[in-house]
Subunit: 202 residues, 2 copies
């Protein structure tokens, strides 16, 4: 009998899978979901198309994994900022700025996560993550309202609006070339977000 995987072998497989996800993420960031065929992704990872199916049961599963990893990092970062130190308004402002800054620093990926046409499975994942963004924003808004820093409002609506507004504001810059106006954009964007939540203007 020769069928027990050695730790080294397990590590090799895991590494191969990690590498596949990483390369697939790069491909998606560069050419978008619709152009990221199984063949293209496999080529980028240096394996045969068929080998993808050693790691994932379908292309959709791989795509979902790519999305989750990348979007998960963003949720995590945003959560840390929004749950971090400072008053609700300050945290909201910093959260919006950090989120937008990270997107602008990694345009291709940000565009893929936010807006690029994608297969249904990825679309569903996108929806799910948008809900998570909303939930994070809603929490801070609610806190702000309770503390009196923000006026009474429907926090869910404001949170959804913030999510949509940030995405929409970023779509054009993310699609176009780097234009050097990033800092001005960030300032305008955070100002808008604060107005949106009803924070008194500084």
């Amino acid at each position: 009998m020769a069928y027990r995987k050695t730790p080294a072998e397990i590590r090799r497989l895991t590494t191969a899978k990690e590498r596949l996800v990483a390369r697939a993420t790069e491909v998606v960031a560069e050419v978008g979901w619709s152009q990221a065929s199984v063949t293209a992704v496999a080529d980028a990872a240096g394996i045969a198309a068929g080998s993808v199916y050693q790691h994932f049961p379908s292309k959709a599963a791989l795509a979902v994994e790519v999305f989750r990893r990348a979007a998960g990092r963003e949720v995590e970062v945003l959560g840390e900022v929004l749950h971090g130190p400072g008053g609700p308004v300050e945290r909201l402002s910093r959260g919006v700025e950090v989120f937008a800054r990270r997107a602008l620093e990694n345009r291709g990926l940000a565009y893929a996560l936010l807006a690029a046409p994608a297969e249904p499975a990825v679309g569903a994942e996108r929806l799910a993550f948008r809900r998570r963004y909303r939930a994070l924003f809603a929490e801070v808004v609610r806190e702000g309202v309770e503390s009196g820093a923000l006026p009474a409002q429907n926090g869910e609506i404001t949170a959804a609006a913030l999510t949509g507004a940030i995405g929409e504001v970023l779509v054009d810059p993310l699609g176009g070339p780097e234009d050097g106006a990033a800092e001005a954009l960030l300032a305008d964007l955070t100002a808008m977000a604060l107005r949106c939540a009803g924070a008194p203007t500084a």
Copy 2:
């Protein structure tokens, strides 16, 4: 020689094309772009699949026409409200409300126009129309700033944010079932939009 089209024949062809676009719009509103195959659309219009190509050079061209007609109506309506009588803030408020109300009254179509997965040609059209929405909002915001009704701000950003915010807020209600909370939603949405533009709360 028998190849001159009579007026009646021309009318018949035009009517057939109109009918095709109308039925295709219904199909898209019901099942979304991805399920609206040429066969399904042709069936709905009561013609053969091949006949679609008498009117449009490709499926994409038909889809684009469907999108343009439907989205064009919304741009027109929004434009009328935003250019109508009243102060900038009042018009902005009414514009948001009218836009959202129309979407909620025609959910399937609104979802298809705003968010449903679609082929690249439709995606491009969607982007183009979003720019038109933004331009309309930007105009009113600029007017409001000039008249002093709104605080100084980057009108383009606010306009993009309004477009994104409205879309995002509507996506969930449009996807789910009618829940009867439409009026409350509209009130919260317009309140958010006014805050977003910096209008003093009523």
